[in-house]
């Protein structure tokens, strides 16, 4: 057990049944998350990056047990929460909160802002009345909203403000870990910048740890300390953020980083254009990325899946090119 780590996930698996045939029997399993291990250090941000269908949201939800994993272990602050019962889990959830992609959809349109942010205070601390209202107003100020927003409804706010409400609700119970599932992908850049800065300031102030799920590599580079890249439910590369962006090793990471359009017309960078697209029916054997890989093909790529290995200190890659 490492004292530095707040969240540790080992060999996480989440399979969904594939049904078909007579009587809708279970005919197979879709491996949304397949043997994923990572950890979030205290007070730091781990970025989970991958394209749609790579399992990043599923991992985020499994990590705080919003959905039950099929296998693996989740350790929060040294405690195994994989098999906690509902009651203990609810107590534990105070420490881990989630912020969702679509701010409008994650707020109840029939509740006022005061009720939305106040609800977790009632559930976890049995706070009511003036005490609760004071706390809510304090939270509103903290995320850059005003006390007069207390009695308004979510639809009266812009997207960026709605996301701030979501953040205030998550912070109400003073969590230690926030799972941020694409928190800015629905926002415009000027508003995104404000929300990213808010998240950064909150982390500095309260020593929060973030599990930051995103497909936007620019945002990840800006906010994260470490990055784990996912491809089809598997981690293909883990390293600190500078290494990932300056010296990526896995061919998929290289392609993904080269594909980000830089806002600089003179940035004469060679783009790697991948063949085909993410096919959820990946080959059963071999490296899941092999069909799209642009690097030299080894015979082993098609035969067996490469394990995640440490190639340098703190830099893990799952690729046969780096034995």
């Amino acid at each position: 057990m490492n004292e530095r780590l707040l969240l540790e996930v080992r060999g996480l698996k989440k399979y969904y049944p594939v049904r078909g045939g007579l009587f809708n029997r279970r005919v197979g399993a879709f491996r949304a998350v397949d043997d994923v291990s990572f950890s979030v250090p205290r007070g730091k941000t781990l970025g989970l990056v991958g394209e749609s269908g790579s399992g990043k949201t599923t991992i985020g939800k499994c990590a705080i047990r919003l959905i039950a994993p099929t296998g693996g272990a989740i350790l929060f602050d040294g405690e195994d929460i994989t098999h906690l019962n509902e009651r203990d889990l609810r107590r534990r959830r105070r420490d881990m909160q989630m912020i969702y992609q679509s701010p409008a959809a994650s707020l109840n349109g029939r509740m006022t802002v005061g009720e939305i942010i106040g609800e977790p205070l009632w559930l976890h601390e049995r706070l009511r009345g003036a005490k609760r209202r004071d706390r809510v107003i304090e939270l509103l100020r903290l995320v850059g909203l005003k006390p007069e927003h207390y009695y308004r409804f979510p639809h009266e706010f812009s997207g960026g403000q709605q996301q701030r409400i979501g953040i205030a609700r998550a912070l109400a119970v003073k969590p230690r870990l926030l799972v941020l599932d694409e928190p800015t992908s629905a926002l415009d850049v000027s508003v995104q910048a404000q929300v990213l800065n808010l998240l950064h300031d909150l982390q500095q102030e309260f020593g929060l740890s973030y599990l930051f799920i995103s497909h936007d590599l620019g945002v990840v580079r800006y906010l994260c300390d470490q990055v784990a890249l996912l491809y089809l439910g598997k981690v293909v590369e883990v390293a600190d953020v500078e290494t990932i962006f300056t010296a990526p090793k896995h061919p998929y990471t290289q392609a993904l980083i080269s594909a980000i359009p830089e806002p600089d017309p003179e940035g004469g960078r060679e783009q790697i254009i991948l063949k085909g697209d993410l096919n959820l029916r990946a080959p059963k054997r071999g490296c899941p990325f092999a069909p799209r890989c642009h690097a030299a093909k080894l015979d082993r790529c098609e035969a067996d899946a490469p394990p995640l290995r440490e190639v340098e200190r703190g830099h893990q890659v799952a690729c046969h090119l780096y034995p």
Binding site: S158, S190, G218, P263, P265, E266, I273, D277, N279
Partner: protein
Amino acid sequence: MTRMSDLLRIENLHLEFRTFDGVAKVLAGVNLTMRRGDVLGLVGETGCGKSMTALAIPGLIPMPPGVITEGRILFEGENLLDKSRDEMQRFRARKLGMIFQDPTTNLSPVYTIREQLIDAVLYQRMDAKRVPGRWKGWLPSARQTRLDAERRAVELMALVGIPDGDKRIAEYPHQFSGGMRQRVLIAMALAGEPDLLIADEPTTALDVTIQAQILRLIASLVKQLGLSVLLITHNLGVVAQTCQRVAVMYAGRVIENAPVRELFRYPQHPYTQGLLRAVPTTRVRRGELEGIPGTIPNLVTPPSGCRFHPRCAHVMDVCRTVVPPGFIREADHVIYCHLYAETP
């Protein structure tokens, strides 16, 4: 005034929506010019009117509630706003291609790609009334027409990089991936050999690796077919990598218009500068990203004068009352901001 080389010229376009909350002044004097072979990026944030500008060109603004109160849209010198319904239909078929953000909702799930591509080819080639429908398939002449169109459809699929077009044409949209569906829509848009392709956020719904593929495809089509492209996006990176010119919009007006290198190297309008600073790139350090304070204005009661003035750090008295005209900084770099009034 109109030069022969201008393919599209939008002059002082005003568009309003009559809503229950009042009249929303969605476009308030949009000016744009595109030459043949141009790839023009139209950028701006949600609600700035970039999609509405794009929809006004083919006449697809829902009216009511929309009303174009002022302005002209000149395509090869002809004002599109004077054309009748039938003329517009023909214009869209022959001269325009359009692709949209979400490739899923723009394809019918109940017809195969074959039916949808054949229809696209036929409606863009011949008069709408003379297109033989699917139900006329038993007529030998109709069958021949549709068979010819199918051959063309397979050609189009090859053009947009769908492998095995002759086999995949029999599949349904759900059997295609997002990137492939967008390619199908590009094929449809190209069926009438258009002069202008309007692409409204064509890669927003796609992953970055697929986005790179689609952008490369569009660039190669520009070279191969001599297309002009109006690319609407909120992603400044996409603009930097694909366009030659950029027009930045804010709250219903174009506020800066420049060649792409010029705009990214010397952004002049305070809004453009703010927008570029808000993008997280390699150079910004954590915690130092700058957003633009405030929010976009309500278009029912927009700010007077320059619509950006309540959020602008350099606001002057004149900004509150007078709509800034275009000031030319250098060849082809136009800024709609009073700060540049002195420069000749």
